[in-house]
Symmetry: C2
Subunit: 143 residues, 2 copies
């Protein structure tokens, strides 16, 4: 016993399983908004600041540009944002919310409470977990 390879003792397994389990909760909640969970996170970032460059979104979301590129095209196809070359630096791509993209925020305001209700855990507990995960993110990205 005390096996270092025991599945249920691995932090990485708990992380992966928790991430997928919680995101699964979002699926039915985000479906009426026409968003997947990664798309929802991109919208959260843009609701905080728009326009912004693809590279800035990647920094905020810890995502590779190769992941964002097709994702942003889908959001553009959905009419939620525009993608235009920056005139000062033609390499950069400015991502900017459309009116529809800004308007979607009203619907999104109801999302967090629905998830908390489904989880049935006190918000203070969730916030504590989030803070510990934030430390973990920093540790992993510093390595």
């Amino acid at each position: 016993m005390n096996d270092p390879l025991e599945l249920d003792r691995q932090v990485c397994f708990a992380l992966a399983a928790a991430s997928r389990s919680v995101i699964a909760l979002y699926r039915p909640v985000l479906e009426p908004l026409g968003l997947t969970h990664p798309q929802y996170l991109v919208m959260l970032a843009l609701w905080e600041r728009s326009p912004r460059r693809v590279s800035h979104l990647g920094d905020a979301l810890f995502l590779e540009p190769a992941t964002l590129s097709p994702l942003l095209k889908r959001l553009e196809a959905a009419g939620l944002l525009t993608r235009t070359r920056n005139s000062d630096d033609e390499r950069a791509l400015d991502v900017e919310l459309t009116d529809a993209g800004r308007a979607l925020r009203e619907k999104a305001l109801a999302v967090p409470a629905q998830i908390v209700a489904r989880l049935g855990m006190p918000v203070s507990r969730l916030e504590a977990i989030r803070d510990e995960l934030t430390e973990l993110i920093e540790a992993a990205n510093a390595a």
Copy 2:
């Protein structure tokens, strides 16, 4: 302020980012074993019990059979396991480690310590996070 949609306040974002950041640490460590991270988790499950059915693996790993099916075929192609129909119930598929699959465990024994070292966080802290995540998994799957 106190915006409910602020990206850095979302538990789901912290979960997704932490999961991807930590799994990224495994990539170079698992590469010499010829395993991806999901494959590593499947091997952990099989090292605990083999043979076992696809459905049992799915229960242990919180994965859909449609996810496991191609993944197990890749591990079979790598010579780490065999997939054979159960003679008592021809619907079920028994997944069993090969000698190579069992032997790989020796190399895997060094993995957890390498990850902990890269993270640079005390093990007690990691265990506390894991236990909280386990509760979160239960809450999400009970919903």
